[in-house]
Symmetry: C2
Subunit: 482 residues, 2 copies
């Protein structure tokens, strides 16, 4: 029982918005005296125009939303955004092929950062800006999704993600939630501006500072340079970006508390402590590993270790060093980090720290249950017992993640990729990271992947970004049954 008019109404509004954002590249092209302003004008006009045409017939229809509409709107919205988002790439001929343009665009909107470009520096400033903007918009979409839409869909376990904010009921959005959304968006904007200023104050020009800030806060990882952040041989730049990747991978509600001086609430958040612990643990081990296996001193080892750990764990995907050239075991540690993900309520992808922690805790509790089989031994988070159905949902999510990864590795290898490349490409796209291992390592890109592989990886980026279930439910026959 879908409500097609409601779906069309919301999706067409989304399209109109996207077209307007495309026009933001026009001043950029004018400032840099480049010649693709017309292409951006046209891209925006087509996108907004089609949106407006679709909107008109349904503009007066009543907004009736049920759970199924929600799933269609979320998945459909991300696909539509990515389809029309290819226009600037195609019309400026920056990326001539549709497959490549779609891959690059959905990689942007899903905040993945996997690129098919082999010479990023040859793109015009307008195109580079649009490419960065896709990630920033994607990140904003994710905040909206986590905070408003997923709780509305009642996705089990998701209530944990916004534990500190009142959940909206399926009937209507609680006004308080709308306020919270506005506040978190404000934090997103303020952080983006703050990072821009700090980078600009350092060795980075204003344009690069803006673009990198847009993609950092989205944990996206698109850079304006082929060498990514390694282009800037500056500890200051590296540490500033590390800091903002860390913030982008933190639950935005906690940043809100920080701004209001409620530091005790931050420390009381168990997921945050684990987030810090995982980053600290991996960074220390890798720092020592790098220090003893490479030259350059302790500071460089620490900076490279911390940057890569934060970048991969938060699923950003910037790089300052090629971890595949490190001692093999250090590369393995980085690869394992690809299966963590950011905090719940952040823009980070992957399974998320929250789910990893619940899985780990349930495992140790299961051992206790074996010694005392008749005792009720719940998983506790923030000192509160977690509902068993939430634990089951979390375990099912992780099982799904594993099943999809395994099937995808088989598919990618059938499409002619070697074992390491298959494993790396799947981990890096499903987890919305960007760089993987093997043929899609940090010094390489996705240009060489077979066309079918690019489409399949695009699908993985979408599935990973929308918390698996949101997309996969559309493949369930029950979903389409009356």
């Amino acid at each position: 029982m879908l409500n097609p008019r409601t779906i069309i109404r919301i999706l067409s509004l989304i399209l109109i918005t996207e077209g307007i954002f495309m026009w933001l590249s026009i001043p950029v092209t004018l400032i840099f005296r480049e010649h693709d302003a017309l292409q951006f004008l046209l891209s925006g006009a087509i996108t907004s125009g089609i949106g407006a045409i679709a909107y008109l017939p349904v503009r007066k229809s009543q907004l009736e939303l049920n759970r199924r509409d929600g799933y269609v709107i979320v998945t459909g919205g991300w696909i539509l955004f990515s389809l029309f988002g290819t226009l600037p790439f195609l019309l400026t001929r920056s990326i001539p092929g549709f497959t490549d343009a779609f891959f690059e665009t959905i990689s942007g909107f899903t905040t993945t950062g996997a690129s098919i470009l082999s010479n990023i520096e040859e793109l015009s400033h307008g195109v580079l800006f649009w490419r960065s903007l896709t990630q920033w918009l994607g990140g904003m979409g994710i905040i909206l999704l986590t905070l408003l839409i997923l709780p509305f869909l009642g996705i089990g376990g998701m209530q944990l993600f916004s534990a500190e904010v009142p959940s909206p009921t399926p009937d209507k959005l609680h006004p308080h939630v709308k306020d919270t959304a506005k506040r978190l968006w404000l934090i997103y904007v303020v952080f983006t501006l703050g990072e821009t200023l700090l980078l600009w104050a350092g060795e980075m020009g204003l344009f690069d500072a803006v673009c990198h800030s847009l993609t950092t806060m989205a944990t996206g990882g698109y850079s304006t340079k082929q060498a990514s952040i390694a282009y800037w041989n500056s500890p200051y730049i590296h540490y500033v970006i590390t800091l903002f990747m860390f913030l982008a991978g933190t639950n935005f509600t906690l940043s809100y508390f920080a701004m209001h001086g409620q530091f005790r609430k931050i420390w009381a958040n168990e997921e945050f402590r684990w987030y810090l612990g995982f980053i600290g643990g991996f960074a220390i081990v890798i720092t020592l590993g790098l220090f003893f296996t490479t030259g350059g001193g302790l500071e460089l080892a620490f900076r490279n270790a911390l940057f890569q750990v934060v970048s991969i764990l938060t699923t950003t995907g910037f790089v300052t060093a090629d971890y595949l050239k490190w001692a093999p075991w250090l590369g393995v540690l980085i690869f394992i980090l690809m299966y963590f993900g950011g905090s719940a309520g952040s823009t980070g992808g992957g399974p998320k720290i929250m789910r990893i922690v619940i899985m780990l805790k349930n495992s140790t509790q299961e051992l206790k249950r074996m010694i005392h089989p008749n005792a009720v031994i719940p998983v506790r988070l923030n000192k509160i017992a977690v509902n068993e159905s939430v634990v089951t949902n979390v375990l099912a999510f992780i099982a799904f993640y594993g099943i999809i990864a395994v099937i995808s590795i088989a598919i990618m290898s059938v499409l002619g990729n070697d074992f390491d490349t298959s494993v790396g490409a799947v981990a890096a796209t499903l987890g919305n990271i960007g760089p993987g291992i093997g043929g899609v390592g940090p010094a390489l890109n996705y240009a060489e992947i077979h066309v079918a592989g690019k489409w399949y990886l695009s699908f993985l980026m979408l599935v990973g970004r929308l918390e698996l279930f949101t997309v996969l439910v559309l493949f369930s026959p029950m979903f389409w049954r009356r």
Copy 2:
């Protein structure tokens, strides 16, 4: 509140039994006129002697068993068996180093089949027989464990494994269960004899036929030849062994039904249908892959595909072809099979078909739960709703399996192994398979692994064979608390 006297009494009886089995090699050495009869006499005497010395002081103590004693006895039993089982290797100097001897022995008793031997043919017949016997005894131990001990320990989900037999209560073993155990052991013996006769009727000598039958029925995979089953270039031998690997990976209760003509009960068993389906599906795809990428015709492609699929899926580990020399994607499919495992109630290791099926079913049910969040949508197996705590336990088991695999891959890579070898060695030992990928592929062995790596992999074999929880619970502080 352990009962040390009970534990010592049972473990010492186990040792006495092991010593007696060592003497079975003496007639073998005499028949082949070899000169290590004395070493086997001595090995058996030491083992049984120490067992008897430990038994005497506790022989009159009352048998008091609780859950904790059970865990200690199972894990302790397998370790003791493996420690004393090294004696024939050490005293005959077939394997001079203790680490290697222990690795080879625990690989036997856990029915893994991972070997450090680079020239198996140079071993005496007595030693080869003992090596094969360790696996057969291990397989017998597993039947005992699955049927009697795990249900007694009340390991959640395990009740599924013996769904067709009445479960023993913690107080005392139901006499009916003892009967069932005897019947299943009888099937184990009859199958071993049957395979011996069929192999002997073919191109295999009696000694090799006996040894391979002992290790097939245990899903162990130790061969008397360095080239494993590829040594015999005989379709007949390959198909016979495929058949018995298949039977060894099937729930033994179903074989009992087959012997009594109750074929309807077999088909009613859902796990068995999935087991057939997985084998059939993978075998067909790999047959086609081999047919189109290698020469040799359809029959050879089918035989090699089916043999390798059954061998890896049932965690036996025999090989007739080096799957790492196939097209990479075929090797990836074989690698994925390493994470399946035999049926519940078989001698196969790994996560087991039953758990994989419950995980898959729960995943699709979770999607349905998202559409109808208020409906109760259970996982059904054999048309019966599975208790939610069992589903949670199964998911926790698989999560544990994944966590252990990831940590182990990190450890193996820190010990200096490359990515593929680390991944392959962990999959092949935790799953009790034997051959892996990378440096421990089917044409290679574990001789080159670092000493610490051999000890760690020995630990993994034990953890995998004893269903994870049984061993890991000993590491829980709660276990040792009064």
